[in-house]
């Protein structure tokens, strides 16, 4: 009980700091929401999802009846602290660059012997639901990565290739509206309606975006992951549906994460 309270205070303070110290330069018009955000205070319902994630992490499951506590998120088996600040990265066992979503599913499959097809099929909550297993686990990993410095490894050729491919996809224009990621995210101090748009080609903008996902999405009452953010951006680009943990998503996350080097993790934050 005590530790949970502390954790919660920690989450609150960090979220508040993230709001106050957010490195993104906000145009003066965007200050219209400063009062709103201040009134929201430090009460972030993400705490529920984090606790659920911790429970899922520690509960033995699957045919092998083991927990995920020996899952290697890149910093060694069982090390959760700071892991999100160094993902996506190359994993020798999987022979693949994986992000947190792909890695968690990989651990469920290999450690617990679980069939992850169903989880892959519905990784994200619909409106009105209370959170998926994957969302809860990502929230837990994010919480334990709070304050860690973003530092994606780029030593392996596969990691370098992912960055390159991510950059290419970032500028790929397609669909009836001719949109690419760059349409909205390659200029500084712009907004779409009233929402400030981070420039993901800069350290500042990429840093803000990378360190604040996953986030509790106020408008939906749900904890949303970076994978969901990509899927939702792709939807508004009028493209088909991005799949959780897929290569293109990992490539885009790598592009953003490498650009964000040195930023400080502040997730799960509060989002619109």
């Amino acid at each position: 009980m005590t530790t949970l309270h502390n954790k919660r205070a920690h989450l609150g303070i960090a979220a508040l700091c993230a709001m106050l110290l957010a490195p993104i330069t906000v145009a003066q018009d965007d200050d219209v929401f400063a009062e709103y955000r201040a009134m929201m205070g430090d009460e972030n319902p993400a705490i529920f999802t984090i606790e659920e994630g911790q429970e899922l992490w520690e509960t033995p499951m699957g045919p092998k009846n083991v927990s995920l506590e020996q899952c290697d998120l890149g910093l060694g088996p069982g090390v959760v602290e700071g892991a999100l600040a160094q993902l996506p990265r190359y994993f020798e066992d999987a022979k693949a660059v994986q992000d947190v979503e792909a890695r968690l599913l990989y651990c469920m499959e290999t450690l617990q012997g679980r069939d992850v097809i169903e989880l892959l099929d519905k990784p994200y909550s619909s409106i009105g639901e209370q959170g998926t297993e994957l969302e809860a686990l990502v929230a837990f990993v994010a919480d334990r990565s709070m304050d860690a410095v973003v530092n994606l490894p780029q030593g392996h050729p596969a990691e370098q290739a992912m960055y390159k491919k991510g950059e290419e996809i970032f500028y790929y224009r397609a669909g009836p509206h001719d949109f690419s990621c760059a349409t909205c995210h390659s200029q500084t101090d712009k907004r779409i309606r009233l929402q400030a748009l981070p420039n993901l080609t800069t350290n500042e903008g990429a840093g803000f975006a990378f360190t604040t996902w996953p986030g509790y999405r106020i408008s939906e009452g749900l904890l949303r992951t970076m994978g969901w953010r990509m899927q939702s951006c792709g939807r508004q680009q009028r493209l088909p549906q991005f799949q959780s943990g897929s290569e293109a998503v990992i490539a885009l996350e790598t592009f953003m994460g490498v650009n964000a080097k040195g930023a400080v993790m502040a997730a799960p934050g509060l989002k619109r």
């Binding site: 009980m1 309270h5 919660r8 009460e43 319902p45 705490i47 529920f48 619909s126 409106i127 009105g128 209370q130 009452g221």
Partner: protein, 103 residues
């Protein structure tokens, strides 16, 4: 293990400041899901906060209170070590409670 209500209670002078966060969908009954089906109303109707037998707050809510509701209030006469218990009942008869020790 506590339920899905997070409570904080902290002394500030002679007042005890209480902040509670509850995990609840607070469905209005007016929304539709992706398949176009009406999502039935599901919301907290009543909340009570007590210290021992003393009621320090009681509220009736409609479905317009936001999802994962927040409740903040202050009361006097608390001392460190008191336990504030908050409980709710919703329109389906589901209940939950959570507590915090005053600090």
């Amino acid at each position: 293990m506590a339920g899905k209500i997070r409570v904080r209670a902290s002394l500030n002078g002679d007042k005890c400041e209480v902040k509670a966060l509850m995990r609840h969908p607070m469905e209005t009954g007016m929304r539709k899901d992706a398949q176009g089906n009406q999502i039935p109303a599901h919301f907290i109707k009543e909340v009570v906060a007590k210290v021992g037998d003393r009621v320090v707050m009681q509220a009736h809510w409609g479905a317009a209170v936001s999802q994962n509701p927040f409740l903040g209030f202050e009361f006097t006469g608390a001392k460190a070590g008191d336990v504030v218990v908050i409980s709710y009942v919703d329109n389906k008869g589901e209940t939950d409670d959570g507590s915090a020790t005053v600090k």
